[in-house]
Amino acid sequence: MGQTLFDKVWQQNTVKAETPDQPALLYVGLHLLHEITAPQAFAMLEQWRLPVRRPDLSLAMVDHCAPTSKDANGRFMVKDQATVAQIDALTSGCTRHGIPCFSLDHPFQGIVHAVAPELGLSRPGQVIVCGDSHTSTHGAFGAIAFGIGSSEVAEVLATQCILQRRPKNLRVIVDKVLSPDVSAKDLALYITTKLGAVGGKGYAIEYQGAGIRALSMEQRLTLCNMTIEMGARFGLIAPDQTTLDYLSRCLLRREIEASAQGLFSDPDAQWDKELVIDADQVSPMMSWGTNPAMSIAIGEELPLPATATERQAYAYMGWQGQKVASGRVVDHVFIGSCTNGRISDLRIAAAQMLGKTVATNTQCLIVPASKLVKQQAEDEGLDLVFRQAGATWGEPSCSLCNAMNGDLVAPGRLSVSTSNRNFEGRQGQGARTVLVSPASAAQIAIRGHL
């Protein structure tokens, strides 16, 4: 019987096989760390008096609480002393253990899920972990990539291994090429509505089909990034020429062709579940509720809430009395995050905003996902387009995706965002979030309403 891509990568990285009594022990090829979930792991290691086994396979950076603004002297405006202490806990831990760390001033600093791919560090056939649920992003290279907790971060630091039970295999087939005005973000939201917020639970999702093959590497990263919103920790795509071309252009490229060989699901592989998506049915999407599965096509009528959860989401979002979303005033637009803060996302946004002005009732914040993305955007003059439109151009950070760095949406305000989660309070206590693609976000910023 044939194997799935996931099972092949699993097998290649198995240190100790799974038995009914014990999970498998997998070898981690790349361990990414950041300031929110790593400091506690360093404390655990030190409590156990354990060294870091492979600092040369680990990489840390400051992203969640990185400030988006600098003062007049060019110094980062770090939110408060707690944030200073948190950044220090990461950098000092990395120094003690010999782990490379990109702090605020490093030329490669950025969001972990943008930086590792763009540098060429996320590679086919690896196991990649990080104390962050959006680690599924790196599966776009044909890797087993997943989010872990701080206790597991400590285990990986100490042993370079992770305990894991093998999930079931689910394939999502997109059999036709998406229409040019539909992005990977729209596709991800569409699949999430079909699978539901728990439909992927217990599965690794492999995306297949002509519609996936036609996606650029950055679009694949967006799709795999959103896989956790379907309840699955793993999303992956078989490496192909697009993958190899992308990696060959990366700054720290390494020999990758050999590692990608044979990394595809065999035609006779067994699938535990399958979902076929008709690409013609996918159009630009927006979320209306408080998880990404609560999404509709833009222009579609708002659904009538059917469950207690939906009623609560409807009330939280303040849709009472509205049949359609269109016309509703938008207070904030955020373009950025590990989902949609890459150079191709910014180019799309800039194309929409060129020569136009952000509506007076709307504040628009655009935050590149990394220093390299920021530099590239500035080289192309995209920052000028954004600034001339009246948008704020920020320093690389997770920023308004999780609202930890001081960027906030006020209670009751409506924010249209290219990030990944519209949970209650995600962008600030009482803040209301509508998830969209970068193209839609830029159009809405100009218009000032949905």
């Binding site: 240190v15 100790k16 009594d21 022990l25 070898y27 090829g29 929110i36 979930t37 506690q40 404390a43 156990w48 354990l50 040369d56 396979l57 990489l59 939110k79 707690a82 948190q86 806990a89 120094t95 490379p100 760390c101 990109f102 001033d105 490669f108 560090l121 590679r123 056939g125 962050d132 649920s133 989010g147 872990i148 907790g149 206790s151 597991e152 285990e155 100490a158 042993t159 370079q160 291994c161 305990l163 917020a197 728990v198 639970k201 309840g231 700054l251 720290l252 020999e255 998880n291 469950t307 207690a308 959860t309 999780n402 609202a403 930890m404 989660r421 949970f423 209650e424 995600r426 206590q429």
Partner: protein
């Protein structure tokens, strides 16, 4: 870690579906590098209003909350972010068991790493437990929940159960696999490529 054996208490109900870890510990409380003292932040934005007043109707506020150690949650409990601050906050608050129809996967594993027993039960048993006001006994060794005359058995990874019952940290187990890890590295030396060119500042 304290071994988990039998937990006996009345249960508190928090049945909302898809309660994500951002609700459990809002992001602004993550600006700490400590794993302790997070109980006061648990469900902060649901326990307290915008003016900081305690919302008496929320299940984890008195008078509803009476020191119960068992929580009955809704489906997809703990979806979202991987923050281990969520189970740390539950433990610090005083809860030892969460029973729900299903869990966010990362949250579920984080619970079991912290002597917080997360138990998935079938919808029918969940419905019964969500209405049951009396004592609930959770026996990890027997893998059994008792409520009144009703018994509900539950599944748990035998490895997790072993570690929980003995209060063992999995960190200890993983470090004991050192010979196998060294062997794997030796055999796969060509595939394990150190990061280079990523000099630190």
């Amino acid at each position: 870690m304290t071994p988990v054996t039998v937990v006996r208490s009345q249960s508190i109900k928090l049945l909302d579906e898809d309660l994500d870890t951002d609700q459990m510990v809002p992001a602004r409380f993550l600006r700490t590098s400590a794993a302790t003292g997070l109980g006061s932040c648990l469900f902060y934005d649901r326990r307290f209003g915008l003016d900081g007043e305690r919302l008496a109707g929320f299940p984890l506020n008195p008078p509803i909350y009476q020191g119960e150690r068992i929580l009955i949650g809704g489906a997809n409990f703990g979806c979202g972010s991987s923050r281990e601050h969520a189970p740390w906050a539950f433990k610090d608050f005083g809860l030892d068991v969460i029973i729900a129809p299903s869990f966010g996967e990362i949250f579920y594993h984080n619970c079991l790493k912290n002597a917080l027993l997360a138990i998935a039960v079938d919808p029918e048993s969940h419905h019964f437990l969500s209405l049951w006001a009396g004592l609930v006994t959770v026996d990890l060794e027997q893998q059994m929940i008792q409520a009144g005359g009703v018994q509900v058995s539950f599944a748990i990874d035998p490895f997790m159960r072993f570690c929980l019952m003995r209060g063992l940290s999995q960190l200890g187990y993983v470090t004991e696999q050192e010979p196998l890890i060294a062997l794997f590295e030796q055999k796969n030396a060509q595939r394990i490529v150190p990061l280079s060119g990523v000099g630190s500042t």
